[in-house]
């Protein structure tokens, strides 16, 4: 049986253990960013809730992963420490994202899912880690799990069953 590591909202996990599965539940407008560092077989997953940390500097200390801007830097720091890549972390890194859903007929204020996705991409692109695959938007709540050993990412929702990205 694979060991499962659950990632809550605003949390992240990094693992090098091929037996491990990293999982996060019901994303809603939140976004999961999955980092697959091929050369060192290290996997990271972060569950981001909001685009910008400026609304609550206090939370940043406890849970930098809540926000796109602080979260990406926090998880990449941890990945670098665990993966210890010979060169730059961006080399051989594959990034995929999922989530960022919305209710129907949303407006700009309530479009947090979309703003999360945009904020994340703006941070990832300059790092040379733009997402190669995305399963975002729409009106469904996604659950994500990643097998560290294989890098296989499975999404699921209550009515759509399971699918891979």
């Amino acid at each position: 049986m694979a060991k499962t590591k659950i990632v809550g909202v605003g949390e992240f996990a990094v693992s090098k253990d091929p037996e491990e599965v990293i999982k996060t539940f019901a994303l809603g407008s939140c976004v999961a960013v999955i980092f697959l560092h091929k050369p060192t077989r290290t996997v990271g997953l972060i569950h981001v809730a909001l685009p910008e940390s400026s609304i609550s500097p206090e939370i940043v200390r406890d849970r930098p992963g809540y926000f796109a801007d602080t979260g990406i830097h926090a998880i990449l720091q941890k990945m670098a420490a665990i993966a210890m890549p010979p060169g730059s972390l961006a080399q051989g890194m594959v990034v995929k994202i999922a989530g960022g859903a919305n209710v129907m007929d949303t407006n700009n204020t309530f479009n947090i899912g979309k703003r999360n996705v945009l904020a994340l991409k703006k941070i990832l692109w300059p790092l040379g880690m733009g997402p190669v695959t995305e399963d975002v938007g729409g009106n469904i709540s996604r659950t994500v799990s990643v097998s560290v050993g294989t890098g296989k990412i499975v999404l699921s929702s209550p009515t759509k069953g399971e699918w891979e990205i």
């Binding site: 605003g10 539940f25 129907m104 947090i112």
Partner: protein, 296 residues
């Protein structure tokens, strides 16, 4: 069964739901009144043995980590606060509706209760952003009750979640409630409204339940409250705590802007506040060690 027969069966099922105790009804009524103190709450609770026992159990649970055992109901109610007491009362009174597995929404047991609790917490916070005053405790109670009807209609929606999902993708219905109406002749909001009338819930609870997906249809005077519940429901769904197959499959009525003032940053702060409060309260109801099946 055709749609008419289904509608008759649903309406009969609503009539068959057991009534809530007079203590719970009185608590709900009280929470809607602007002038009331904790002493009145204690007075209602202490004459209901089951409720008293449950409240003492919660206050002495691990989540509160109190050094000394709490034996007095006065002390317990003041420690928990009004919202928690109403929440405990509702989970006791309508546990059968809240806690059961909802096949009609592809939802595990407890999913609806989590969604209702999160909506209640969001409603209280959003009430603070209403352009005219909305009572936060009343908003909390409405949030707790808004989807009660799902507990009834779910039994008649078995085997529909996949079909509705497909129909929604083909844009055959404007939202999930419309799909329910097409199948049953009424949606969960109306079922909850009928139930609230049977239970003699005080105004404005029935209207808040009835129009939470169609707030524009509420009486003008109640719109600030009804839009508060409408948005709170959406905030709960966005945070990943919907009920099941219907999560996020509802429309945002942007006319809320006339009643509730929320900038993007304020909404983000609301979501953060809801998350923090929910993780505190969820610990009380489910204990920290239990793994919630949904995020947040």
């Amino acid at each position: 069964m055709n749609r008419q027969e289904k509608e008759i069966a649903v309406r009969q099922a609503i009539k068959n739901v057991p009534l809530i105790s007079s203590a719970v009804a009185r608590l709900l009524e009280l929470s809607g009144e602007s002038e009331h103190g904790i002493a009145e709450i204690v007075n209602i609770v202490k004459y209901d043995a089951v409720l008293t026992a449950q409240i003492l159990k919660v206050v002495n649970s691990a989540a509160f980590a109190r050094k000394a055992e709490v034996y007095s109901i006065d002390h317990a109610v003041s420690l928990l606060g009004e919202d928690m007491v109403v929440g405990i009362a509702m989970s006791e009174a309508a546990g059968l509706l809240f806690d059961k597995k909802l096949e009609g929404y592809a939802a595990e047991a407890g999913s609806l209760w989590r969604h209702d609790l999160k909506t209640a917490i969001a409603a209280k916070i959003i009430a603070g952003h209403a352009r005219t005053e909305v009572n936060g405790d009343l908003a909390f109670t409405c949030g707790l009750l808004h989807d009660l009807g799902k507990g009834v209609v779910s039994d008649f929606l078995k085997k529909t979640p996949q079909k509705i999902q497909q129909a929604m993708e083909q844009k055959k219905f404007p939202d999930y409630a419309a799909a329910e109406r097409a199948i049953l002749g009424l949606d969960h909001a109306e079922a909850g409204y009928e139930l609230s009338l049977n239970w003699n819930l005080p105004a404005p609870l029935p209207q808040a339940i009835r129009f939470h997906h169609q707030p524009a249809l509420a009486d003008e005077a109640l719109k600030p409250l009804v839009y508060t519940i409408h948005l709170a429901d959406i905030v709960a769904m966005m945070s990943g705590v919907g009920t099941g197959s219907d999560a996020l499959q509802y429309l945002l009525d942007t006319a809320y802007e006339s009643y509730i003032a929320l900038s993007s940053d304020e909404l983000a702060a609301v979501m953060l506040g809801v998350e923090q409060e929910y993780s505190k309260v969820a610990g009380v109801f489910w204990g920290k060690e239990e793994e919630a099946p949904e995020c947040a």
